[in-house]
């Protein structure tokens, strides 16, 4: 039984449980089949939303724990077992905070910006394959879509920074935009080198391409085929997440909190949520494009959807752990140094990588 995406997967599960037909009949009699479709889509989105929220909660806890253990501390310990419920406590605290809108701020844009950030990050999850057939929609232009949607977040950061009417926010917003331009290009170029091999922009196709093995042992992941591309994509990805060493938009020691200096309460929580959701999304993309996605040795007795999800999560958390580990180690770069790095090193390298990939592809070496 093969299904293309999560929507079909739910229908097939309902069919297997023999409850799809009666429900469908009811809606058919009312002549409202589309309502059922909408309900199922909403269920899929709700599942994704809950998954993202839980992931974000876990990630905040994980980050604090990783930091704590690097720094010879315990980290959160009191709320729940080993402090696992700490994010919930934080969330409740943030919900209870007063929502302050500065008197000189542009009220509407100020209110709108955090939602745009969150929505833009959430949309990135749509073509992201969590596992076999665990995908909201297998867009034919999946990778392009992700790069395009990722460019929306800096716009909303610019909106937030501008609307706050605060000099630090504005500087943070300007930095975010300048940074976005200089790393999106190498990100896209490194991704194109992969697309050259796959011949498709669809994320599922990219994952399927990496399914096999060379010499029966080395998995056919793009990290082995294009190590340079992987490094460029990783650096650009970390820059896209806006994390140390590239967290210029909010660099605490220079710009207080950058674009969300003036935000408080729930709006701040939305930015926070978006940041960690973005971390997960970008790590997922890195895994999908370069680390073989949900591919892995087949486990017996488990449905392929579940094993693939497990492999995907293991790999994604490995990438996330790496970013946290890196964050605990290195200082922040300077914005002009990143721009130099982006324009003078990463773009030529990405072009070189693309050239080599195209040459290898046409020569038919692999």
């Amino acid at each position: 039984m093969m299904t293309a995406n999560a929507y079909e997967l739910i229908i097939s599960i309902l069919k297997a449980l023999n409850i799809f037909e009666p429900i469908n009949n009811i809606f058919q009699k009312l002549g409202m089949e589309y309502v059922l479709k909408i309900i199922i889509v909403l269920v899929v989105i709700a599942i994704l939303l809950v998954f993202v929220l839980l992931t974000v909660m876990f990630l905040t806890w994980l980050e604090r724990k990783v930091f704590a253990v690097v720094q010879s501390r315990y980290g959160p310990m009191v709320t729940g077992p080993r402090g696992l419920l700490q994010p919930i406590a934080d969330g409740i605290k943030l919900l209870g905070k007063e929502d302050i809108i500065p008197a000189t701020a542009d009220r509407w844009i100020f209110t709108l910006a955090p939602f745009i950030v969150f929505v833009s990050v959430f949309l990135v999850f749509i073509p992201l394959p969590f596992g076999k057939s665990l995908i909201i929609s297998d867009l034919k232009v999946g990778l392009l879509y992700i790069i395009a949607i990722s460019a929306v977040a800096p716009i909303s950061i610019l909106l937030a920074g501008w609307a706050s009417n605060n000099k630090y926010s504005l500087l943070g917003a300007i930095r975010a935009v300048a940074q976005d331009i200089s790393y999106t290009i190498p990100l896209a170029l490194a991704a194109i080198a992969v697309v050259v091999f796959v011949g498709s922009l669809s994320m599922v196709d990219i994952v399927n391409y990496q399914g096999g093995y060379w010499f029966e042992i080395i998995p056919k992941w793009f990290i082995f085929l294009q190590p340079l591309g992987f490094i460029l994509f990783l650096i650009a990805g970390i820059a896209e997440m806006g994390r140390i060493p590239f967290d210029f938009q909010e660099s605490e020691q220079e710009l207080v909190a950058g674009f969300f200096t003036e935000y408080s309460g729930m709006k701040f929580a939305l930015f926070f949520l978006a940041e960690y959701a973005h971390l997960f999304a970008v790590s997922g993309i890195i895994v999908t494009v370069f680390l073989g996605g949900w591919n892995g040795p087949v486990l017996p007795f488990l449905p392929i959807q579940l094993t693939s999800l497990i492999y995907f999560l293991i790999k994604t958390y490995a990438v996330i752990f790496f970013t946290m580990w890196l964050r605990a180690t290195v200082p922040r770069m300077r914005i002009d140094q990143l721009l130099n790095l982006g324009w003078k090193i990463m773009i030529p390298m990405a072009l070189l990588n693309l050239l080599v990939a195209a040459f290898v592809m046409t020569a038919g070496v692999i």
Binding site: F67, Q71, S72, I244, S251, Q253, T329, V330, R332, M333
Partner: protein, 382 residues
């Protein structure tokens, strides 16, 4: 392209001004065109308090100047009073004083390294620095009962002798520290991003540094090996083997590395002191002592004069504190209270060099350059 300059108020409440200091920056985008420093938000009138309290009562106030390294503050003031009154100090007391001051130098530099790295965005170093600092603070707690504001050094000696188990714990700390420095080396010193952020940032030449009154490690990062411990030896420093650490790069990185080298030197000094510390009294009973020795350990305390009247006169005495030259000018009129106390604060004079240094740099560079100046606001504003 013509652009409008932006007035940016950095501080008084800002994460990287280390307290309530304010920079008035005139910015062209990210580039600093003009920098003015506004201070005094933590001005507590310590010099006035010095005139209102007796010589002994003022010692706790000196703890609150540079609260990261309070022991040298104690000593600088007490040294001035002792010079004024001509008090001889027992040898053991001098050894203990130098021991606690060098330990405090390590503590101070650990905090500086941590906070500089935190200013640059790396949060691990400060926790590691505080981890080692904690051991040192526990040593201080054993010694004088306080962790940061010691009130330990008194005219004529020190407050209490070394407690039981102090030297073994100190040995352990030194051994531990030597291992940790390797960790710091690996975490920070080779880190390419750290080097990018600190090399050739905040450059100041040797002549300029001297003319601007810079002292201490900040100046020694500019290729000047002037150290008051060497130039104008006081206490037992002439008997000790150490060198004034110096770097020639003149930039933020050099000023950071001088601190790291000084930690090593201080550890070396501590080891020498542990080997050679003599037995004997820790308090002078020479001229201003009051009670005779009853042989009881608790009676040692009553040795300290409660009222203390040095002869009229004036004195300026200075020491090499971890952050630079710390001097006390005291004018006495022969009463129990000083007529005038003037504190020559290292932070205050070092910071004169900053505004010129950062013009043309960016905000992150200002943060980095300022971080190596090692400012404590209690000391800057007094």
């Amino acid at each position: 392209m013509e652009t409008e300059t932006l007035l940016l108020n950095m501080g008084p409440v800002h994460p990287s001004t280390h307290g309530v200091l304010r920079f008035k920056l005139r910015m062209d985008g990210e580039i600093i065109r003009d920098c003015q420093i506004v201070m005094g938000y933590l001005h507590r009138g310590t010099e006035k308090l010095g005139e209102m309290n007796t010589y002994i009562q003022f010692i706790p106030y000196t703890d609150r100047l540079d609260y990261i390294s309070a022991m040298p503050n104690n000593y600088a003031y007490v040294k001035a009073v002792e010079e004024l009154a001509g008090i001889e100090v027992p040898q053991r007391a001098e050894y203990i004083r130098v021991l606690v001051m060098e330990l405090n130098r390590i503590v101070n530099h650990l905090v500086l390294m941590g906070s500089l790295l935190l200013d640059l965005g790396a949060s691990t170093m400060i926790m590691w620095g505080f981890r080692e600092r904690e051991t040192a603070l526990q040593l201080y707690e054993m010694l004088c009962g306080a962790r940061m504001t010691f009130n330990y050094i008194k005219p004529g000696g020190v407050r209490e002798d070394l407690p039981e188990g102090f030297i073994p714990k100190l040995n352990e700390f030194i051994k531990d520290m030597e291992k940790r420095i390797v960790d710091y080396d690996e975490l920070v010193n080779g880190n390419e991003i750290f080097l990018m952020r600190t090399k050739n940032i905040g450059v100041i030449s040797a002549e300029e540094a001297i003319n601007c009154g810079m002292t201490g490690p900040s100046m020694r990062g500019s290729g000047v090996d002037y150290d008051i411990r060497k130039l104008e030896p006081y206490s037992i420093y002439p008997d000790l083997d150490f060198k004034a650490c110096m770097r020639r790069e003149c930039d933020t990185y050099a000023r950071y590395m001088v601190r790291l080298d000084e930690i090593r030197e201080s550890l070396h000094i501590l080891k020498q002191i542990i080997d050679t510390i003599p037995a004997g009294k820790t308090v002078s009973s020479q001229r201003y002592g009051m009670a005779p020795n009853t042989g009881e350990p608790s009676a040692v305390r009553s040795y300290f004069p409660r009222i203390f009247t040095p002869p009229p006169g004036e004195v300026y005495s200075r020491i090499e504190a971890p952050k630079g030259e710390l001097g006390f000018y005291i004018a006495s009129d022969g009463t129990t209270k000083p007529y005038r106390v003037k504190i020559r604060s290292h932070a205050f004079c070092n910071l004169v060099a900053l505004p010129k240094m950062v013009v043309g740099l960016k905000i992150p560079d200002l943060v980095a350059a300022f971080g190596t100046f090692d400012i404590v606001l209690g000391d800057l504003d007094r």
